[in-house]
């Protein structure tokens, strides 16, 4: 016992150091069944640096001008959590944000949280399931919901004008268990275990200050399954996100994604507004519909993702094209046409598929889309698009919106600062 205790005096290891210590065995794990080519595909950078465990090239910076996880190319997995704040004071809330900041920065860097991870007589400060794993491009994106601006923390005067619960859309079947939240954390990573670890530890740190309100995990095809990085497909089999704005175009991002100082309030400058919808897909019904009907529903060809009547996925969408019988080639009620509208509203979609077991009542799959979009202004961008879709989208026959929430995602956190330091 005494021996063990003495060992425990060694300073805590980071996840990376642990990997280093395990040496060849660690590399073997890293390479897994896929061998070197698999690793390169996963890392998306086929540089040999990917093999240097001291310098993992799959860590994304946590600090910066904007929060990571918004225009960051979507990782393979998401763990999303909404929290209710139970802390009684603004001071307590600030303390939570500071504690979260330290933990989030460590997790993004692939390090373990806290000091006590090798002390035998105490619960470890990190829950440990990500020990030895690489950072896996983990991003943690934090936001606050409209309900945080009630009287509790003296923030009434700082609420952004456009930050309020979404209006009721036609056909909504919202279940309170998937709605709202004072805070949100979107964790994305190329490894589900790493992503789950982050949410679990944030919830643990929050105990006594905030409680989980709802969570949803999600996935898309992994980088390993699609080394070319094509547009992912949703669970209805169609490519989803073809029409997204170019995230490498900084001017376009300022126009569509990032809240600008003049938009007000000042604390949101450089942040972004997030809409989250949990959209269940009636996959059983969809699977009984004809390919022709399916394609007419989306307005795209299933195989190529091209707009109906075109060949390539990224061919320009011609909404005016008519077929021989005078009908629009891209039907009036198709998802593509209604989402696009006159083209004046754009959003950045960052959705993931989800599968949450069975609907106990019907025995059908509870599967669908965790729709997430980022925009500079919910009222000018997301809401008009969703209103059009809710009224007329042929896709509504196959989907039902069961959850809904909006959050103001903070601007980026500077090194030395903390999450939400522009707000509180």
């Amino acid at each position: 016992m005494t021996e063990q205790k003495k060992d425990s005096l060694k300073k805590p290891l980071s996840r990376r150091e642990m990997l280093k210590l395990t040496g060849v065995a660690g590399l073997g794990l890293l390479l897994g069944g896929g061998g070197a080519s698999g690793l390169m595909a996963l890392g998306r950078k086929s540089s040999p640096a990917a093999l240097d465990v001291n310098m993992p090239d799959n860590a994304l910076p946590f600090y910066g001008k904007h929060q990571a996880g918004i225009i960051t190319p979507a990782q393979d997995f998401i763990c999303f959590a909404a929290f209710d704040v139970t802390a009684g004071s603004a001071d307590d809330l600030r303390r939570l944000f500071k504690n979260w900041t330290a933990a989030a920065a460590a997790m993004a860097a692939g390090e373990m949280i806290g000091e006590h991870n090798a002390t035998l007589n105490t619960p470890p400060t990190d829950t440990g399931e990500a020990a030895g794993l690489t950072p896996s491009r983990t991003t943690l994106t934090f936001g606050v919901g409209p309900s945080l601006f009630d009287g509790r923390f003296g923030l009434q005067g700082r609420k952004p004008k456009g930050l309020r619960d979404l209006p009721a859309f036609t056909g909504d079947a919202l279940d309170p268990q998937w709605c709202g939240g004072d805070l949100c954390v979107q964790v994305c990573a190329d490894d589900m275990q790493v992503a789950f670890h982050a949410i679990r530890n944030l919830a643990r740190i929050a105990r006594g200050h905030a409680v989980l309100r709802w969570t949803q995990e999600g996935f898309q095809r992994t980088g390993r399954a699609d080394p070319a990085g094509g547009t992912p497909r949703n669970l209805l089999g169609f490519k989803d996100g073809t029409g997204n704005p170019d995230t490498t175009d900084a001017v376009l991002m300022d126009q569509t994604v990032w809240a600008q100082p003049a938009d007000g309030p000042g604390w949101m400058a450089g942040g972004s507004y997030m809409a989250v919808r949990r959209v269940r897909m009636r996959v059983e019904v969809w699977d009984r519909s004809t390919l022709k009907d399916q394609e007419a529903t989306f307005g795209r060809h299933r195989d190529s993702g091209a707009p109906l009547g075109s060949r390539g996925e990224f061919d320009p969408v011609d909404l005016k094209a008519k077929s021989a019988d005078g009908q629009p080639v891209i039907p009036a009620t198709s998802h593509l046409r209604l989402a696009k509208g006159d083209g004046s509203q754009q959003i950045l979609r960052r959705s993931y598929s989800y599968s949450s077991g069975l609907d106990a009542k019907t025995g059908q799959l509870d599967a669908g889309l965790l729709f997430i979009s980022y925009q500079r202004d919910l009222e000018k961008q997301f809401i008009p698009i969703q209103e059009r879709l809710a009224k007329n989208d042929k896709l509504n026959e196959y989907t039902v919106h069961t959850g809904s929430a909006v959050f103001a995602c903070f601007p980026g956190i500077t090194n030395g600062g903390y999450i939400g330091d522009t707000l509180i």
């Binding site: 016992m1 005494t2 205790k5 003495k6 425990s8 005096l9 139970t86 006590h116 002390t119 007589n121 105490t122 619960p123 643990r204 105990r207 006594g208 409680v211």
Partner: protein, 298 residues
């Protein structure tokens, strides 16, 4: 206030030790101090033993004695109340037996980690249906099933007798048991873990639905341990001490509306959101409480 409570506890503990233990037990009790002092050494950096002991204040004799006294007091009362309960069962007085069941158990639930440390006694007294082989199932919950589910005391005489003798055995064993600060610290967390995994879900008292009695008693037992260690804790980490105190208060406040006379309402009266709130308050308390050992160096 805590000091005032602790003083008579020490006196009681000392007298109990003198009365009940021979020299051997007293010696073994002294030994329990040694590992505590060592752990103090090892969490600090390379100074002399005495200096370390002073620096970490890792002499928990008072707290340990206080806890032994508390445990003995609870078990004394437990034996008494269990006897009343088993008498009612044997007399075939169904209604009285039902009334005495949950309050008697509270004395046990307050010191459950002590009983758990004593091997078979815990399952013999407190196993639920399915926890042990059907043929071995006995104790409170076996009788609980008869009283509430089968609505009879018939065939329970033997179970009542064994329960009482198990309770008495527990009383005898606790005298000589090794208790150290580490058992106290882990015990406090275990008590809350118990609540978190079976009481807050209504699984513990599945026939009588008296789970809230157990819930309250487990929390009281954890609070007693915290009270005994609180001064040491506050000296080393004021914030953690304050946080634990606040969250005990918050949990007790959350539990208060469910009080009913001297007891608690049926678990069946809880709404889903009540259960969720209690559970979340419990987790909020248990997390900082689990860091008490780190700070105390035990």
């Amino acid at each position: 206030m805590k000091k005032i409570l602790a003083l008579p506890a020490v006196v009681l503990a000392t007298s109990v030790l003198l009365a009940a233990c021979g020299n051997n037990e007293a010696a073994s009790d002294n030994q329990t101090e040694t590992p505590v002092a060592q752990s103090g050494n090892e969490t600090s950096t390379g100074t002399t033993d005495t200096a370390d002991q002073e620096a970490t204040g890792s002499d928990y004799t008072t707290a340990v004695d206080g806890y032994r006294a508390f445990a003995i007091k609870q078990i004394d009362e437990f034996v008494k109340q269990t006897e009343k309960f088993t008498d009612a069962v044997k007399a075939g007085d169904l209604e009285t037996a039902k009334l005495l069941y949950a309050p008697a158990r509270m004395y046990y639930e307050r010191i459950e980690p002590v009983a758990e440390a004593l091997g078979d006694l815990d399952p013999n007294i407190d196993a639920r249906d399915g926890d042990v082989e059907a043929a071995d199932w006995r104790g409170f919950h076996r009788i609980e099933k008869a009283l509430w589910e089968d609505k009879t005391t018939e065939g329970m005489t033997d179970f009542a007798d064994t329960l009482l003798s198990d309770a008495k055995l527990l009383r005898a064993k606790v005298e000589t048991m090794d208790i150290d600060a580490s058992l106290m610290v882990t015990g406090a967390v275990e008590l809350l873990n118990e609540v978190s995994s079976s009481k807050v879900t209504g699984e513990e008292e599945r026939y009588s639905h008296t789970d809230l009695y157990d819930f309250a008693a487990n929390v009281e037992g954890a609070r007693e341990i915290y009270n005994l260690l609180k001064d040491d804790l506050a000296a080393k980490d004021k914030d953690l001490d304050q946080q634990i105190a606040d969250r005990f208060d918050a949990l007790e406040k959350e539990l208060a509306p469910f009080k009913d006379g001297d007891g608690y309402v049926s678990y069946e009266k809880l709404k889903d959101e009540d259960v969720k709130k209690l559970s979340q308050n419990l987790d909020a308390l248990a997390e900082p409480l689990s860091n008490m050992g780190q700070v105390l160096g035990v």
